[in-house]
Symmetry: C2
Subunit: 987 residues, 2 copies
């Protein structure tokens, strides 16, 4: 971090004082009493919980058309106590239980908030905004129009945004044509400046913007950008790419440089890109852009902002255990801004610097640098936000500087989201506006350079307390990193080169008498992935006897040693991570991220159960009475049969096997006959990690092996994950005492699901639809957690279906070896046939909404959606295990929950809602093992979302939870009378 050069400080202070004088006597609209009670805002700034509730209410408000519901939600969020606070302004004071009172008040609230929105949004359309844009121009403010709108979740929506951009440019060009000239706005040191500037949100131009697939993303975005750009060149107009979340930063820079390097566009001088001072890589990005500009020959605009996604980016990276790429301290960002501003000013012969800031210190600093570089004032411009920080807008224009206002145009409803972000920024403790206008800090404090001394790299508010179990989830691969993508490509090539080989059985010392089994690539069924010898049911007894013999020494192996073996296996998986993921892509048809997530989860199970067992294994004292010592011990139950599925072919068996092993049991492991290679690799890794012979025994094969295991008298525990029918038959078989059996068998069975997502009328539909789509199509719906029913409130039903259909039609289906593939094939021909059968059933029972076909060879099923499904329909009751969704209409939230609970399954469920009352009701009444609120319903993480269901979805403790391991042990309580000869040991 460069230190601020102190020689500049006197100059900064002098200019700062000058600007402050120029801004004096004015108050930002935000802090004026006219639309917002000072009391409410003060309360929000003092009480973080209240602020959250208030802003969340403002966020949901636009979705609600019913007045009574507006009042109801106001109460849910703000409680009765808030009524007097907002009553006068919003009419809540007049509230009564009568529907008349409610209607009136709802209307009042809405109109107040709409009024508020108009402060920040120039108009619902360009037409509506035009008079205000003209007014701005004539009051000495240029502008950059930003077209607000919902998130783009389909190609149709991307097309619509493209069209809106084209229309806006056309319309704006007409509008500005007859304006009078303002020289400062129309030319700078690098030439003329178009009057029209459009800020573009690149993510709105494609539903496929995904850093895992830069090529596909580029193609999708560029194809929609070109018509806009062609028009901008003609007019001319300036186009600025907004910068968004950190995970697309590299991709956006790449799209920018690639597009503007294309022959048609390489001379266009009005392209611009926003860059964020909070991003650690921005200095490097600027250096690379400068090199690119030099090579390209035409200038570009760089808009330097502090960055507006700090909270969400920081949270999302931390959630994933990825290093946060942003500065985590506001002062570091401020300091970096100053460094970057100096850099941009120094390089202004190549670029047009634009400084987005509302901070007096920053403004003064930029002026001081420019003055020291002796730059002409036309060289750079300031950008501020429409409706914000008016005193500074006034000051910089009075100071003779070019100012451009970032001006949102669009419907008030989606605009509310924008508004909330603005309110947040300006009421945060770090906000300059708050410091100056609310806290009235001294000018010398406000103008002091950012304080870097003693700065911690983590903000305390988001710090993670050390977990009791010292467990952290293994991060999934960040495929925004080019190294990650390259490694995966190489791993796929390596595995490709080994396809078709026959592998030596990993069941050392066991003589297997079953046939050779072949594993096929579901995407290319002719391709043999690997060949392995399998067991016959006659081999089971041999394996169990071997396990029984080996048990004693494993039982007596010290806890620490068994724990370390799991950790060693985790290390081996980390080492072979890409290779194993590539095997999974080949054998199971998983797209990259899904395959990688399975690896991460397998590692998680190993680390979590290792950590968990270290905690559990030590004896626990019960009671504190003198003269006696009561201790709880855990002892292994005995030989454990693990019967595993193919859909998480590494993670699920790793979890079941490692839980049994670490607690001291020998294991007979039967991988699915659909994913034998992954079972083979798991066994090999465990052997390599020093699990002794006889303790892990892999028996490849089909249902007959499973059945023989379940019935064997020496099996003490059966850990099964698979279908309901198989699970129930295991439960039945295991309940019958076999001759010679010495232990009641325990069955842990994770069975199926018929999981529903409820979407109510308050839901954020952008989130809800993407969540439903990813939950029902992820790994082609072949997850027990997958969504297969969506229950939608009648008020939004048609809109939901409409957007859902387009989103589904926009999915990329194809070969999972390709990084951009979202949906691969299903596991095999049998699965494909079964799902197709259900599609036919669905066509008879309900209304087909989306269907499709794939040209590729392989067992593909295009995601299929049925609407108007009734709860009695088979497609609403039976587990299909494919990308098939049944949409049902509900008349109320309670009705939706009743529908959701109307199957014999209880595995996962989801709710998209912004009604606190509905979320609470779901917590109480949505009868599933794992309930997800406002997020997709798959992807449970070990430790954080222990996974498992009840009813006919399963029996046993949740996998990846603290109670899981105790299922593999018996509890022994040892009570010693410690009193001897009248005395007990000292305590």
């Amino acid at each position: 971090m460069l230190e601020v050069p102190s020689p500049l400080e006197p100059l900064v202070s002098r200019i700062g004082e000058q600007l402050a004088r120029l801004s004096a006597g004015r108050t930002p609209t935000l802090f004026e009493g006219r639309w917002w009670s000072h009391q409410a805002l003060n309360l929000a700034m003092q009480d973080g919980q209240f602020k959250t509730q208030l802003f969340r209410f403002i966020d949901v408000l636009p979705s609600i058309t019913d007045d009574e519901q507006v009042v109801m939600l106001a109460r849910e969020y703000l409680g009765e106590g808030a009524t007097p606070l907002f009553g006068t302004h919003w009419g809540l004071k007049a509230l009564s239980a009568t529907s008349l009172g409610a209607r009136l008040s709802g209307k009042a609230i809405r109109s107040q908030v709409e009024h508020m929105a108009r402060t920040f949004i120039a108009g619902a359309t360009v037409e509506e905004a035009a008079p205000r844009l003209t007014e701005l121009w004539h009051h000495g403010r240029a502008w950059s129009v930003d077209l607000l709108g919902e998130a783009t979740i389909s190609d149709r929506e991307a097309d619509r945004y493209r069209d809106r951009c084209v229309e806006a440019l056309t319309r704006l060009a007409q509008e500005v044509a007859h304006w009078s000239t303002v020289p400062l706005f129309e030319r700078n040191h690098l030439g003329p400046i178009p009057r029209v500037q459009l800020s573009i949100k690149i993510s709105a131009l494609s539903p496929h913007l995904d850093p895992i697939d830069p090529e596909g993303s580029y193609r999708s975005v560029a194809s929609r950008l070109r018509p806009i750009l062609d028009l901008a060149m003609r007019l001319p107009a300036s186009l600025i790419f907004d910068m968004e979340q950190a995970d697309t930063k590299t991709l956006l820079v790449e799209i920018f440089t690639r597009l503007f390097s294309e022959p048609s566009y390489k001379d266009y001088p009005y392209a611009g890109l926003a860059l964020q001072a909070y991003h650690r890589e921005t200095a490097r990005d600027i250096e690379e852009l400068l090199t690119w500009v030099r090579r390209r020959g035409a200038p570009m605009t760089i808009r330097l902002v502090k960055g507006a996604y700090w909270d969400s980016d920081t949270i999302r990276y931390r959630q994933r255990n990825w290093p946060v790429p942003l500065f985590e301290q506001k002062a570091l960002t401020d300091a970096n801004y100053e460094v970057l501003a100096s850099l941009l000013l120094a390089q202004s012969s190549l670029i047009r610097p634009a400084f987005g800031t509302h901070n007096l210190r920053t403004l003064a600093y930029i002026e001081a640098v420019a003055e020291s570089l002796k730059l002409s004032p036309e060289t750079w411009e300031y950008q501020m936000i429409f409706g914000m920080a008016e005193p500074f807008q006034h000051a910089v224009t009075q100071y003779g500087r070019r100012l451009r206002l970032y001006t949102p145009v669009g419907d008030l409803l989606p605009g509310m989201a924008y508004l909330v972000r603005r309110l947040l920024e300006n009421t945060s403790n770090e906000s300059f506006l708050r410091k100056e206008y609310v806290e009235s800090q001294a000018l010398t404090t406000l103008l002091a350079p950012p304080v870097l001394a003693g700065v911690s790299q983590r903000q305390p508010s988001l710090s993670q307390p050390a977990s009791a179990q010292e467990f952290h989830n293994e991060p999934q691969r960040d495929f925004a990193q080019v190294d990650s993508r390259t490694a995966m490509q190489q791993a796929i090539a390596t595995v490709r080169s080994q396809l078709g080989r026959q592998w030596t059985s990993s069941s050392r010392g066991l003589r297997l008498t079953g046939p050779l089994i072949e594993s096929h690539n579901p995407g290319r069924p002719d391709e043999v992935v690997g060949r392995l010898s399998s067991a016959s049911s006659g081999d089971v007894d041999q394996a169990v006897r071997r396990a029984v013999q080996a048990w004693e020494s494993w039982h007596d192996t010290p806890t620490e040693q068994r724990v370390n073996i799991l950790r060693a296996a985790a290390s081996l998986m980390r080492t072979r991570r890409d290779e194993l993921a590539a095997w999974e892509v080949m054998e199971c048809g998983k797209p990259w991220r899904e395959a990688d997530a399975d690896l991460a989860e397998a590692i998680d199970f190993l680390e979590y159960y290792a950590a968990s067992w270290r905690n559990l294994a030590s004896p626990k004292r019960l009671g504190q009475e003198p003269g006696e010592l009561n201790q709880r011990f855990y002892s292994p139950r005995g030989v454990t049969a693990v019967i595993a599925p193919w859909n998480f072919p590494l993670a699920i068996p790793t979890g079941m096997v490692s839980a049994a092993l670490v607690t001291g049991n020998p294991v007979i492991f039967k991988p699915s006959e659909r994913s034998p290679m992954m079972g083979h690799w798991l066994t090999e890794i465990l052997h390599e990690a020093s699990v002794p012979e006889g303790i892990i025994n892999c028996l490849q094969g089909g249902p007959d092996i499973g059945r023989a295991l379940v019935r064997h008298p020496d099996i003490a525990t059966i850990a099964f994950t698979g279908s309901k029918d198989v699970g129930l038959s295991i439960l039945k078989d295991a309940g019958t005492l076999m001759p010679g059996q010495q232990m009641v068998k325990r069955v842990l069975a994770e069975m199926g699901g018929k999981n529903a997502i409820v979407v109510d009328e308050t839901a954020d539909l952008d989130d809800a639809i993407t969540g439903v789509v990813s939950s029902f199509t992820g790994y082609a719906g072949q997850k027990c957690s997958a969504c297969s029913r969506t229950i939608v409130h009648a008020a939004i039903y048609e809109n939901f279906l409409d957007r859902l259909k387009e989103a589904v039609l926009s999915l990329k289906i194809g070969n999972p070896e390709e990084p951009g593939t979202q949906i691969g094939p299903v596991i095999d021909r049998r699965a494909q046939a079964k799902i197709q059968e259900y599609i036919e059933i669905g066509k008879k029972e309900a209304r087909l909404l989306v269907e499709g076909t794939v040209a590729e060879p392989g067992w593909y099923i295009v995601p299929t959606v049925f609407a108007d499904v009734a709860s009695t329909h088979r497609i609403a009751q039976e587990e299909i295990f494919g990308p098939l969704l049944s949409v049902m209409k509900a008349t109320s939230f309670q009705d939706a929950l009743t529908l959701a609970n109307s199957t014999a399954y209880a595995l996962t469920g989801g709710v998209y809602s912004r009604s606190p009352a509905n979320l609470e009701l779901a917590r109480q009444r949505f009868d599933v093992g794992n309930l997800y609120l406002n997020r997709p319903i798959t992807g449970a993480l070990v430790g954080r979302q222990p996974f498992g269901g009840h009813r006919l979805s399963g029996v046993g403790a949740k996998a990846g939870g603290e109670e899981y391991l105790t299922q593999f042990v018996v509890t022994r309580v040892v009570s010693e009378q410690t009193l001897r000869r009248g005395f007990a040991p000292p305590e």
Copy 2:
């Protein structure tokens, strides 16, 4: 507490200094270097753990005849690090792995310790002791002989102690006949004093000394005391009753006054009783004795001691949650001693005061009081312990006072126990000897009055940290209290008056169509205890449907309310405690203590599950990642069938039912048809405690009701306690999915046991035999935890059998309504017939050791023991559920564990051993759910010894343990994405 009268203090100091001068220059044997390294003793005094190990080694040493084993045990207790410390003295330094080395060293150790024992024991027999007693007399010390010996656990042993007393008196009288006269020893102010004094341990005179039955205890003790007393009167000799544990104090005082009020003995003037200054009631006891002496007319001796059972009494009372009747602070005891001493001296016209003390301050205080009362020195005497505190012995004799030494006579082996207690007393922090001779405290400090200021009533070393769950076991009744006995007698009379009544069904609102069932008194089979209407299997569906309907509101009842209902039920049980226990005596044939314990346990279950659920019920956050809130919730599984046994007819169903209720489930409760009245009362109490209708449904009846419940599709959970065969058939039935079933059934089954106690060659046989006897005969062996096998090391096998046989033959069998009854009838004719059948089988398979018959009507089975049982015998494999014990011989501890583990059951087990290595091996390898070390194997306490087994003994978490409740719930994890519009609530 009276304050010490300060005017006396100058006198105390003066006399104390005088006595100190008289004792100067001498060191107590204990602290001399000659037999004990100063270093070892210092270490023991500094390190409590080491002291424990050292004294435990000394305690076990006498039992070991094998030299190698002595060395092995020395290593187990003291470790290799201790070798150099004791090597020189005990020969451990010469230790090697050769057996020659080991033998030599073992011998050396033993001979050192035997030498040590001779310091405290005058001789193995009176003959052997005679020369030392003579020597004492001629050196100015009188004596009181104490005959050492093992604890009395049979009538034969009681007879032997009586005979030893008679012989000792005879032999001592012969010995003293020709001694020269010492006037101070032979007469005091109340007349002549016999030369011979015998201290008698009353508990050694009967195996039936039990405060629950004062009359029976008196008869048993008095019959053996009379021959001794007759002889003492003839000789004459003085007889002093030693005082023992606090629970027999009242009984011993009563026996003393009653015996010496008998016409033949009322004039005997040489009777005496020891009283303990640490007992809070001693002042009152003295007052009452003085009244009695006045009435009787003849004097008595009162020997005032501080008391030697403080540790064990304090621990045992605290373990039982009874108020500790002793002062819990040493200073309070010291102060009380001075008060009592003053009282005795003041009343010396009626009694002969004898002061047992080794404390210089106390000696000086007594002298000062006597001087202030102007008493002649012949009035009182001092008593000190043979081999202890020789400097003070010297001082008081030099001071011209009568001193009597309490002089143990007996084998060195049992004498070791005595020795350990002495060592303990004198190395404790509170010991005067330690203060003077080890710590060399200043004389003024040593002579200061006991410091009472700021004294806490609890010693910190034994303080109980507040339990996380705020749970304390309900105390069982202390039947040493006359009020408790009276209340129980009255309750039995009350219940008697209600026998034969027909009771209205407690299943309100259910129409039961089964026949009327009758409950019979097993001790008087003609007696109908009560009549109740029962259910037919057709009634089951009605009850389940009612429960399903009632579920929702119970499910939604706040946690706190359900918790309070359990607590209310506990209160009701406390109120009706004696009455309910009396019903149990009548219906189940339980002796008083067993019936009362069932009540206490039922209350414990209610309180424990209430406390436990309060802890568990609140949602628990998982993970700490920002932007997401993952919480674990528990929800009730659904209708729970509770199928209960008759042997703990209140506690076991209370546990199962209350666990299901508090977690939010409705219950169908089928009590055993053998204890319908107790099931009726439980249901009534739950209704009274506000469990709503439909939530607790009692279906009286037999196996057909149970079967119908298990198979009902709407039953979610089955909690069963009973036989293995029924349990296994429930597991099988529950594993089969029934039409309409929506939930995989969970079965919690507590089944049988074939529990073994292992007794190794290091065991304390007094403890082992009483433990085995109580474990196999308690409630006539009708506990699943009962001992039915005892595996004894070959080295002690015959001795064990010999003492065991006598102990069993001494048991009191009979009507459980009588307080002294140890063994009542078995539950019914069917049970009796089955057990008799096993007795016949046993006679064919093994050697019959004990058998017997009972004259009473009723279903009695006399405790029966077989020896030389092999593990293949049916009586070694099958659960008999009656007072039948199979004794097996083991060649080693490892062999014993193998035998113990050789059944399909794994419920309880026990080990009696003083080998740390063996105890550790048992912890690791004794495969049972509840293992007990050096204590009986029944009587698990809720919270402290959660109860339950595995293998074919049961499935499910332990009852009364923290994991139990989670079996009645499903776990739901709710994961909310809390990030909205880019920000999450503050944490």
